[in-house]
Symmetry: C2
């Protein structure tokens, strides 16, 4: 294969009760990337459309992830990357993860798949490190694997995929304000009470059981977070109201997407997910904050190949 | 039904990564109880064999659990309870839980099952409160439901059952030393670092995924606990050695059963579980500490009815 065009989806990390370990993959919002083999060795980013991001390989998350992959494989091939951004950086739905995971996925395909999808996670994480300072996996894993993903451990890196029930939909609203990941990290307390930990673990366990048994109510009642949300939600305008009204409109539960400012809700069925979105939007309409809104089934497969040139 | 004889099994709580919320049910060690209807209203404990425990209803965990159930049902019937203890109190394999859960299970049967098994958990928890000061559910739940149980939340009480893979065996060794539950609680730190919490949650998630997917290696690699075990293990002679040698002998993983002093290991297959037991025993033989040892398949059904008299 000489060239590949892919869809690299947006993702929701943390998913309330799974700080730093849970993520899920979206279907209706994501970037497109074209990666092609070229004669000149190394990686070049030749085009970025939709966002003002660095073309310099070492300063670009896709570039860094690609270089990390190539360091780990015997190859003197060259690659050109074009990125068509639809996910806004800083939105909290895995903009950097989509670029980093997309780059390693595409190059791996062009090289004839020397690595498994699980192995690609570690390379993509180096892109995340460039973006936020920590090589976290909770966004890049669902981009690559689809469904829900659980980072079971970081040392050694072990990531598990859990399929989502087929009628589970996410609604994501992105208020157009900036929350820096570094700020969202610095507001967190570094110590947690044993009691709150036990509560959080009960919810994480409940969510995983709910996914395996396709118990939508259990999924909903597990979407709680008393450890991270109380601090980070302060940075998000009208968070409590948006969350409350989403649940009142029929959502199973709601919380902060990643480190924010996007707010997500999960619902059973597309119709409910749309109604939830309309209710969330109304709150930002009232206080005149601009927003993007996405309604999406859980994407069970992650990155999609749109076109291949032999 | 006029009389019922039951087997009330021992249980392993916490299971390394599930402090206060996980438990599993054993099959080869447990108490027997006979409960019969009598003319005189109320609850009486008429016989306790095998242990020196109070016959006074208000001071006995089975009595307190039984009274709690009866407070919640319209009945003026009377019940006599006989308890044949095989589980040693203070061993860390749910001695009080077996008695408390056994009593409410038996009375519920004699009353024609006004309550579901899940509803009985709350009554049995009152027995636990008498025994240890806290109404915890991580032992009584697996006695009643069998398999693995997850206390998803305490307020409201919500307990989930997870079936164990059919070839999963537990080995439990009980060194004959006393560790008071109150001491085992008081050594714990009340604050946990966010980083350790994330690690523990990854393992809890991994264990649950491993149970659903019957992935024995994943179950094993999830049996870690950096939060509770480092403190409680100090109270257990040769803990590190026993754990290490169990794993060297083929166990998937090992840890403290409940608040100790019993140590458990999980293995794939009975043969490995026996070999693990022999290895653990050898260590206590060497330092001349007496012990009991139990090898058991995971009990998928909890309490067993041995005999019914119409």
């Amino acid at each position: 294969m000489e060239e590949i065009r892919i869809f690299a989806p947006a993702t929701i990390a943390n998913v309330s009760c799974g700080f730093d370990i849970l993520g899920l993959c979206l279907d209706t919002v994501g970037d497109e990337m074209i990666v092609r083999k070229v004669a000149k060795e190394g990686v070049r980013i030749t085009k970025i459309v939709g966002q003002d991001l660095p073309l310099e390989v070492e300063k670009n998350v896709a570039g860094v992830a690609a270089l990390t992959l190539l360091k780990n494989v015997q190859s003197n091939e060259g690659f050109e990357i074009e990125i068509y951004k639809n996910i806004k950086p800083g939105s909290g739905i895995g903009s950097s993860a989509a670029s980093a995971a997309g780059a390693v996925f595409a190059i791996n395909e062009l090289l004839g798949k020397p690595f498994s999808l699980n192995e690609l996670i570690a390379f993509a994480m180096q892109g995340e490190k460039l973006a936020s300072g920590t090589a976290h996996a909770d966004n890049v894993a669902p981009v690559l694997l689809g469904g829900f993903t659980l980072v079971k451990s970081y040392h050694p890196l072990e990531v598990l995929k859990i399929n989502a029930p087929s009628d589970l939909y996410a609604t994501v609203i992105h208020p157009q304000i900036e929350v820096k990941t570094s700020d969202a990290r610095s507001v967190l307390k570094q110590q947690v009470s044993l009691q709150k930990m036990v509560k959080q673990m009960g919810n994480l366990g409940g969510l995983i059981c709910g996914l395996y048994t396709e118990d939508y109510d259990l999924i909903g009642s597990s979407l709680h977070d008393e450890i991270i949300e109380p601090y980070r939600s302060i940075l998000i305008p009208e968070f409590d109201d948006v969350k409350r009204s989403a649940i009142a409109a029929g959502a199973l539960g709601a919380g902060i997407s990643g480190s924010g400012p996007s707010i997500f809700a999960l619902s059973k069925g597309e119709e409910v997910a749309k109604k939830v979105g309309a209710t969330m939007a109304k709150i930002y309409d009232t206080i005149q904050i601009d927003y993007d809104i996405h309604i999406s089934k859980i994407n069970q497969h992650g990155i999609k190949v749109l076109k291949e040139k032999k």
